[in-house]
Each structure stands twice: as C-alpha cells, then as structure tokens.
Symmetry: C2
C-alpha cells in the first residue's frame, strides 16, 4: 500500500493506558520518510518512556480511507497512545494473484487493543493498519486469481492483515470466502467470537447431550455464543457473571439465549457448592481466583480451557483435582487454529453450521455499535470499557 | 485380620498437625468392640474438635505385630493424633487364592501421612493398617494360587493395603511379583518414587536426547530419580531447589547424580531468565508461585505435570503461555496408573528397566533410615520434617 505524501492530519488523541499496560520497546524502522507531520508529532512527545503510537490517517485523494497503527520506541511523559486517520492511494489494479476488497464491517476486538498496546503475540510490521477481523466484498480481481470473483464476500484467512480501512489489496490465499447472503452483523463476527466458542466446545472434551459446561465471563461475546451453542447441542451451561447493578436484566438476557444457570462466583462457591456433579468442561477467560473456582468444579478427567485473562492475574489451579481427578488444562487461540492448514476443510464445515444457525436466528451475533472510521476515538474508548456491545467500523 | 482382644497398649503419642491440616469428619463405624482400651482413650480426649486418631497396636500373642490406623469423628482440644502398635492373630493358612506375606521393608511416604491425616483420596476402612508401599516375601500359599510361589518377592499391586506390619494375608492379584535379587532399598522403592519419575518422563511429552526438563523440589526422592533417568536418557535436567545452609553440598550431591543445573528459584528468575529455550517438560511438586515460574519457562507446546503440592498453595499458571504458546497442564498420580489394568504389561517392562538400572548402580534408590515398627513415633516425626532421607520400617 502506498502512503500518500504529506497527509492531512486531523487529530492526535491520547488514550489512557490500563494499569497493566506493558510498554514495549519496538524500534520502528519503516515509517516512510514522506509522512513528516506524523513523525514530528512523535518527536514532540515528551521524552521519558517507551510508548506506543497508534496512527490513523484520513482522506488524501478522496479515493479511500485507511486506519494505520504506528508504534515506535520513543519516550513520553504522557505515555501517549496516538491515533490518526490517514489516506492512502491504492493502485487501480491489484497485483497478480491479488484482489481488491472493499471492507463493509470491521469490529474492534480485545485482541486488536492488545496489538496496539504491543502485548499481543502478533506483531505487525509498522506502521500497520489496525483490526484483525472484518468482512468485505471483492470489487476487483487481479490476473491469476482462481478462487475468488467480484461480488464474493470474504473475511481474513488469518489475523494481522488490517481491516480498519475502506479498501485494500490482498493475496487471494489470505482471504476466506463466506456466504454472501449473511447480514453485516453475522458476516463480520464469523472469524472470532462464535468460532472460538464452537471450537472450545468441540475440540477438548467429547461432550454429550446433558453434559455440564461451566464458564466465567459469560456475558462476553464468546460467552454468549457458548450459551447458545450449548443450547443447540443440548449441553447444560453454568454461566458465571460478575455482580452488577442490573442483575435481573442480565440474567434475563442470558436465559433468553438459553443459559441454564446464570450465577455469581459467590453463589457458585456458597449456594451451589458441590451441586454441579461431573462438570466436563470449564471455559476460562478471567484467570486468577476465578479459574481456581471453575477448576474446582470440574469432575473426573474434566478439562479447563483458557482463552483469555481479563483479570490480568495468573490462573490459580487447585493441586488436588489436577492430580487426583486427573483434570487437564489447556489454552485456546483461534488465530493459531486458523493458521494450521490442516483445519481448512473443518473451517468450511464449521462456517456452514454457524451460518445456518446465524441465518435461522438460532445463533444471535453480538450486538454492535456502528461507527464511521472517523469516530475511531470514541469507538476505541468504548471498546475498552463497554462489554455488552461491540464496536463496529462501517468504513 | 482378626484383632486380638484387649490389646496391651504401650503408649499414645500426639503428633502435631501442620498448619494446613484439614480435619476430617469420619464416623468410625467399625472399631471392634473388643478393643475397649483404645476406645476409652478416644473418649478421654477433650471434646471440641473433630480430629484424627492413628493407632498402632503392639504384640499380643507374640505371633506378629501390626500397625493400625484408626480415625474417628470425635472432639479434642488438643487435636491429638494417636499412634499405637498392636498385635493381631493371623490364621495359620491363607484363604483360597490368598498368600501369607512377611513384610521385609516398608517406607513412609508423604502420601501415607496424608492418608493418616484423612486428606488423601484413598480412604481406608478403619481401623486400618498404615503404609502403602513396601516389599515382602511370600511364606505360605493358599489353595488355588496360580502365579505366586513361596520365596517370591512381592510389592502391593495397588495402594491402600497396609504395609506397616510384619505379616499379612493378601489375594494374589493384589500383589505384584518383583525380582527377588534386588537389595532391600531397591525393592521397597519400586512402587512409588522411581516409577513416578519414569512415567512422568515418558507419558506426557515425546522427549529426545538433549531436550530440556525442568523440575522443582529436585531434592525429593522423585526429584533425584528424575535427575538420574534424565542422565540415563540424555535429557538435560534443570533442577530447582530451595536455598539452604549447605547449598554446596546439595549441588554436589545432585550433580553427582547427573544434574545438569542445580539452581534456586531466584537464580532461575534472574540469572537464568530466558536462558533455557524450548523447555519441553516441567515437573511440579510444589505449586504456588513455583509452578508459575516453571510454567513460564516452558517452550511452545510444552507440558507441566503436577504430582505434588508441597507449598499447599494452588498452582499459579501464566495465562499468556497457556493461550499463545499452547502449553498444557496435567496431573500425575502413580496410584491411578497402577489401577488401570491396561498398564499391567507396561508395568512389567518398566520394572525390568528400573531393576536393571538399580542393580547396575546406574539408578540409586533413595537413602533410608531404617526403623523397627516400635520406633514408629520417631519415624513418623522424622518423615514429616526430614526430606533428605526416607524412613523405612523393617518389621
């Protein structure tokens, strides 16, 4: 992608870092020399800390808008995180084997924020466009492209390609064709949340009708997908949520999705102590003591799968059950699953099942708040604090 | 086993409970009515707490001595733990399918202490004879016994049979014949420590020459077997020990067994941070933060096996490696492995290999302090605090 010379910078915003934000020393060696304004902004930041700069540039030739992430080792008293909307000019015709994708919807996921913070294992070459998930329409096809046509809907075949933009060119193998009759909400969530729930329920334990699955963070987008897939498969779901003001509303919402139990950790430890016998699978996205409580509820040869660490604390695991009940602990990372070429056919069949459920209404996609790319500041702020709705860029 | 009426009680000793001793409410419904003296001792204890009573009776008809464990729900201000040596009369001839074993050596293992405390998953019918490991000689064979002869050396085929006694009758299937040319030390350790090390090094990760294994509690009997089997197999062992007065002596001892590295946790975190690349297997018998440190050193798809929890704290596990490095966590319990009938042939071949090493001197058995059964008080006290030598009853 060629960056237009001297972009029209709109604004620089500072995002507050979370308490656990780990500053990362990345030496940026590929900021183009022709974006001096941004570079000057980098330099202007006061010098004392390594920090992370996230740039979004905006509209140059009117042809397309892109969101770019830039990180650099520099020093700042304010630990600034800078976002800029910037424009770039795409060649009219994609290279051989490439297609031009017009992006139609790109969510903000926690992993995107981690990537900007520099704490995600996928480290993009910088400056980079943000966003790992999204869907778009193929609008132009380069020479030699075999499996994609104009009009096809696609999602990224793997993470790290940058979806927070209006248009981009990609190798056809880096894209995955999806059903083009799905709604925006269904299409743009097809890569991360429901598949994560789907795989965790399928790949670790041989679950049967009536088996018990317990999860924390049940109100997350993955958590809601877990509840619904458990309902569809006939598993009993025990859903742990944090206490909050509108508990009745939350319980009602999750029960409407099919939750069998919606309880707090405190209730699980006291009121429901020992009530759930032979739990086969625990899904953990919190860590710390919450993981200890989940694991303590597992039955003989049960398995706890960790896919997140919202508490930012190490998991705690009880020694006794690990040894004497032979429980297992594993992690799950959707991105790695996609990168295994052996999973290509299974990916298609998983999408076929998920799309069937999404189209019939049996599986509800996450609720989204739609944003233009120019609303990035509010969107990224909301993504870090609002968990009941996801932020979705409609470029 | 018939308990002699009105045993001659020798002494009652009180063992101090550890801080983490969990009192267990077990209603004793099978103390024979004909041991009123012991029963009276139970009643005499002051009433306020549920506690655990461990009885050893001694010498009645001069025929044999047995050690018995008794537990009962009763109340005590002193949380007494009572041990008694008692005699019992064995019939002259074993029942059909049974053999008479004269026990020749029976160690005290941490699991035995846990069983007495009532916190071990194997709950013997009470009163019961203590001890899960040991070896003996078959001295009489009942009608219908097919696979054992007088003179054979045997060990328990499974835990919970009570080895702290001079003689007992067992079904032949509850015993496992071993090489009868092994030394006492080698014979009596064949069931627990070296096999635990052997299986953990074999059953979880496909280790190859040069691969790195890291363990905590490296000075334990299992730890020392791990070091030696790693040396024999060509694995690199990184051995974490607690700092102590004679560090040089300990380092020397473990290096003489074949340890590649003997370091403290503090050294691992600071001096050796990031030095051990791609560790494939971590063996954890401590838990708490020690497990966190071990797991943090694992490489991609590494595995941490937990077989003990000396710190009495839940394991801590870092979330990132679990998800992004796809590490696995599992528990190992030697007793369960023995109970799986599918492992019978593998058990024989494991013993063949271990016995070969033990006889050639390539694998040194634990160091033992030999005790008569009448020294039970000192032996049990020593077993709870001395970790460099194991206590061994020679009945």
């Amino acid at each position: 992608m060629g960056v237009c010379p001297v972009p029209h910078l709109r604004k620089i915003i500072a995002l507050s870092f979370s308490r656990n934000f780990r500053l990362l020393l990345i030496f940026m060696n590929n900021i183009p020399d022709d974006i001096p304004t941004l570079w000057d902004d980098f330099q202007a930041v006061d010098v004392c800390q390594t920090a992370c700069v996230f740039g979004i540039w905006e509209s140059c030739e009117g042809s397309s808008s892109i969101l770019c992430v830039g990180m650099r080792s520099f020093k700042s008293r304010s630990k600034s995180q800078v976002l800029k909307l910037e424009s770039a000019c795409l060649p009219d015709t994609p290279q051989d084997g490439h297609v031009h994708v017009k992006w139609l919807g790109s969510p903000i996921n926690p992993a995107d924020l981690n990537m900007i913070e520099g704490v995600y294992p996928i480290k993009p070459t910088l400056p980079a466009v943000g966003g790992n998930e999204g869907y778009g329409r193929v609008v132009k096809v380069g020479i030699g492209v075999k499996n994609l046509c104009v009009g096809d809907h696609v999602i990224p075949a793997k993470s790290g390609q940058g979806t927070w933009r209006s248009d981009s060119h990609h190798k056809e193998d880096d894209l995955f064709r999806i059903d083009n009759t799905l709604s925006t909400e269904a299409s743009c969530c097809l890569q991360v949340n429901p598949p994560t729930a789907y795989r965790m329920l399928k790949d670790f334990v041989d679950l049967k009708n009536g088996d018990i699955v317990i999860q924390n963070g049940a109100n997350s987008a993955v958590g809601k997908a877990v509840i619904q897939i458990c309902r569809l498969r006939g598993y009993c779901s025990v859903n742990i949520v944090r206490i909050r003001d509108d508990m009745a509303g939350l319980i009602n919402e999750l029960k409407n999705l099919g939750a069998d139990y919606v309880i707090t950790e405190d209730q699980l430890v006291k009121e429901y102590r020992g009530k759930f016998k032979g739990v086969k699978l625990a899904l953990n996205c919190v860590g710390g003591k919450s993981a200890l409580i989940l694991a303590s509820n597992l039955g003989f040869r049960g398995c706890m799968v960790t896919y997140g660490g919202m508490s930012k604390m190490p998991l705690q695991v009880p020694t006794g059950p690990l040894i004497f009940k032979d429980i297992r602990l594993a992690g799950f990372w959707m991105s790695r699953w996609y990168e295994d070429p052996n999973n290509f056919e299974e990916r298609k069949s998983m999408y076929a099942e998920l799309c069937g459920w999404l189209k019939s209404g049996d599986l509800k996609p996450p609720e989204f708040e739609k944003r233009g790319l120019d609303e990035y500041a509010a969107a990224l702020e909301a993504a870090a604090v609002k968990f009941n709705r996801k932020q979705l860029f409609i470029p």
